[in-house]
Symmetry: C2
Subunit: 171 residues, 2 copies
């Protein structure tokens, strides 16, 4: 059995997922996922603290071997991406402190690993993620409709990066 913690980095919304693969089971199973939010009313340093505490708590509880996290690319909102990078640093730091192996992949690599196609749309990735894993987010939410509100997107992104790490561990 191997467990991988997938993180979609952010400071407003942090996608977190723990996936597990057991022998004899074809599919990876989502044992935990959430979109962890921090309030914009808080100081940024306080938000970093909450993020690090949450990641540490989940590592302690689920004991994953690997932290899978997307690499960042610069988008148009430079201020935001710098803040996301700071949050990402905190997540990787807590992973390294707990002795996890760190797996990094670009958004392109995640698309290829989940859909086989580097120019896949977000919808295609979400669809494949739901097919590839047991117990995906939509089942637990009691709905077949993936909503981009309330952070389900972030959870699915976290599942997708963890799946990418599983795919790489096979090859």
């Amino acid at each position: 059995m191997i467990r991988i913690l997938g993180i979609d980095p952010g400071f407003e919304r942090l996608g977190i997922a723990v996936l597990e693969k057991t022998e004899g089971n074809k599919k990876e199973k989502v044992v935990f996922s959430e979109c962890f939010k921090t309030s914009a009313k808080l100081e940024f340093s306080e938000r970093l603290k909450l993020i690090g505490n949450e990641v540490r708590k989940i590592i302690k509880e689920y004991k994953p071997e690997v932290l899978a996290i997307e690499t960042l690319f610069l988008n148009t909102n430079q201020k935001t991406v710098m803040r996301v990078a700071e949050a990402r640093g905190v997540v990787v730091y807590e992973g390294a402190r707990a002795g996890l192996r760190i797996f990094e992949a670009s958004p392109l690599q995640v698309k290829v690993a989940t859909t086989g196609y580097g120019r896949a749309s977000k919808e295609q990735v979400i669809k494949m993620v739901n097919i590839l894993v047991d117990n995906p987010v939509r089942d637990r939410e009691g709905s077949k409709h993936i909503s981009s509100s309330n952070g389900i997107d972030d959870e699915l992104d976290a599942i997708a990066i963890a799946l990418t790490a599983f795919a790489h561990s096979r090859s």
Copy 2:
């Protein structure tokens, strides 16, 4: 007596300084400074771990009330600045965990606070830092010449941001 931890964020070289101001003493005194380096041979996550551990150790030893750290701006090397942002996140995180107040200032604000002039050169900032503080880096190095090699620049930048925090606490 108040102590401020100044940090010049980086992952290759992290400038660290602890400044102290006691009543009756006009000048701030540098009680500790160093340029903390991490090897490029290490995994990035390992470097973040070393950086966080070092900051935590220094906070524990010198017990500053404030963490003063520069805000980042995007330069031409986007990959580097993202890595610096991740390291910065780890530093702020350790500061927040230890209950320090976080003081942020831009490079421009640091120049104004140390030289009174927003377009001051690096040399002018260094010169003023050496005048403004007791026990600056050059004294301890046994030389009047500030070298930009071996990390003295980073230490001076850390002293400068701490001085900026002191200046703001007065006003």
